[in-house]
């Protein structure tokens, strides 16, 4: 029987939740309040939501085609009405290319996260829970990958696989999972000896069930924070590969590759290279702000640091 005078806010913040759902909603509400109290984090969230909207509605928002330009009349125009960010050497509207490029950026970030995070989570939780030689071997492998500088390893992989956005994504994912494994292992070590794990063990749960159902969910929140913070780095690596001609191939409007093609005109038509770089800066700044905010909201322990 709920008190009728209870407001929604009181219902969420009650310290005696009546159901699981109420407890969950209450926790989410507290995290959300903590998150929105951080102005920079909200700016980051707005930037990323903006990116998603751009990518989703690119055909509606882009004023021109990103692939077909007017070579005769619209080559290397300076920014102005009609072409708000100018045109490139093939007469293509830069703003439209940037808008379509947001799809590639989002694709890279999401695919890398979807590939790398589960690998890291699995390796880390198994290593942490199993202990012994399994732990030693898995962590040794993780350390080997951590010993490589990320960009250089990705470069070598793409060199062997051949250029292209798909291979770039694979290469970045291969270089991204080790920190996630480290985090997942650390989280696993803190919970593996707790009473609730002991209780499930006594009930006869198999090690796989314990890892998958009872340990992994606890690692998720710190993993989400870390992945969000890493997204800026992923974007920068992908842009760097694109800049070197190893990522997305022309005519794809990938931002890094756009900077590379604008490089030849940097002295006179600087906006061709400047605009995509600015887009990269804004989006990776957005991910960094969002990640910082999420860390403070989800993990109050580290917020003072």
């Amino acid at each position: 029987m709920r008190d009728v005078t209870m407001t929604r806010r009181e219902w969420l913040l009650t310290d005696r939740p009546q159901s699981r759902m109420q407890a969950r909603l209450g926790r989410a509400y507290v995290a959300w309040r903590r998150f929105t109290a951080n102005r920079l984090a909200v700016i980051g969230l707005v930037i990323i939501l903006g990116l998603v909207v751009l990518a989703a509605f690119a055909p509606l928002l882009a004023p021109h085609s990103p692939y077909i330009g007017d070579l005769a009349k619209a080559r290397l125009l300076s920014p102005g009405p009609g072409h708000w960010l100018g045109t490139d050497d093939q007469g293509r509207d830069i703003l439209s290319r940037l808008i379509y490029g947001s799809r590639l950026t989002l694709q890279v970030v999401l695919l890398v996260a979807v590939i790398a995070a589960p690998i890291g989570l699995l390796v880390g939780t198994v290593a942490g829970y199993a202990g012994g030689w399994v732990d030693a071997v898995l962590m040794r492998i993780t350390d080997i990958f951590l010993a490589f500088p990320k960009l250089v390893l990705a470069l070598a992989f793409v060199a062997a696989l051949g250029p292209g956005i798909g291979n770039a994504i694979i290469a970045i994912a291969i270089t991204s999972w080790p920190p996630y494994a480290r985090i997942a292992r650390a989280e696993t070590l803190t919970v593996r000896n707790s009473d609730y794990i002991l209780a499930v063990q006594l009930m006869g749960a198999s090690p796989w069930r314990i890892v998958l159902r009872h340990i992994m969910p606890l690692c998720i929140s710190s993993l989400i924070v870390r992945v969000t913070l890493d997204m800026a780095g992923i974007i920068l690596t992908a842009a760097g590969l694109g800049f070197l001609g190893l990522g997305a191939q022309p005519p794809l409007p990938e931002w890094g590759a756009m900077i590379a093609s604008g490089r030849r005109f940097i002295l006179d038509q600087w906006w061709v290279a400047a605009a995509p770089g600015f887009a990269i800066l804004i989006v990776s700044l957005g991910f960094n702000l969002l990640g910082d905010g999420l860390r403070d909201a989800l993990d109050p322990r580290g917020s003072g640091q």
Binding site: L155, A156, A160, L244, I266, I280, N288
Partner: protein
Amino acid sequence: MSMMETRKPAGRARRRAYGRLKSVAGFLVVVATTYLGLLAVTFFIGRVVPIDPVLAIVGDRAPAHVVERVRLEMGLNLPYYQQFWLYMKGVLSGDFGTSVLTTNPVMTDIRRVFPATMELATVGTIIGALLGIPLGVLAAVRRGSMSDQVVRIVGLVGYSVPIFWLGLLALLVFYARLGWVSGPGRIDVVFEYTFTPVTGFFLLDAIINRDWAAFRDILSHIILPASLLGYFSMAYISRMTRSFMLNELGQEYIVAARAKGLSEARIIWGHALRNAAVPLITVIALSYAGLLEGSVLTETVFAWPGLGLYITNSLQNADMNAVLGGTIVIGSVFIAINLLSDVLYRMLDPRTRTR
């Protein structure tokens, strides 16, 4: 009685020596396996991932007998474990194969270009540390203030900016428009024949030769790329300095120092920063390693004749031996720097000594 007294400390010393030996041995095993793994990964990339490693090296227009000869030379008819053994023996004796692009042994090329990268990263780290530490201290001391926010934003932008793009814009503004610095490259053509490298670090060489005109020229070439890398490492160093300082400033010995009536400057710089200095050394070492990596893109933009440019040029020409050689060298430097910072940490922080 007297025997007991003498035996006891001797036994303890032996136990301590044994313990230290054991930890050193464990350390060496870790380094050795990491290095072995590094070689295994590069071997995998060079021999297993490409559909045909011979084509990756000689190109697809080579005549059939050349392909066959290279295949035998590379030992590709052998099973993988024997190939790996040969590969490992070669790499450990400094043989990375021959570069297709320059026709030199890759090791010779790397020895030529590596000092340029080292010099750039060193100057960059110095700039980054000189700016980052004071900014981090400032942000920690005035926590939550306007200056803290500004340092934070400047740092976040440093984390988020594509360094090659910033390099292009910096070249445009400071070289092309304002003419404050020299453009791409390491040294002006004018000095090419009069300047004799000694150490490969051009700034040092100019000082040794007392060639001040060359020194000014080299400085004006290095300042822009080094400042960019410095900005990059400043972002990291200032953030870590802030967090270490906040940690130290919350300790009780700071309260004690305040109660004693020490000046605030003395407390901050003499007590808190001194205690934060040990982990900071690790941070600076790591950011140095990071700059070696960041140099790949920066060197491409500034036509800086270092390892990064060498790797990217080789990539563009599908010169796998050179790419993998460069990767191994950078990976080795990474491992070495990690090791060094770990050892320094143990030496400098007395708390980690007794365990």
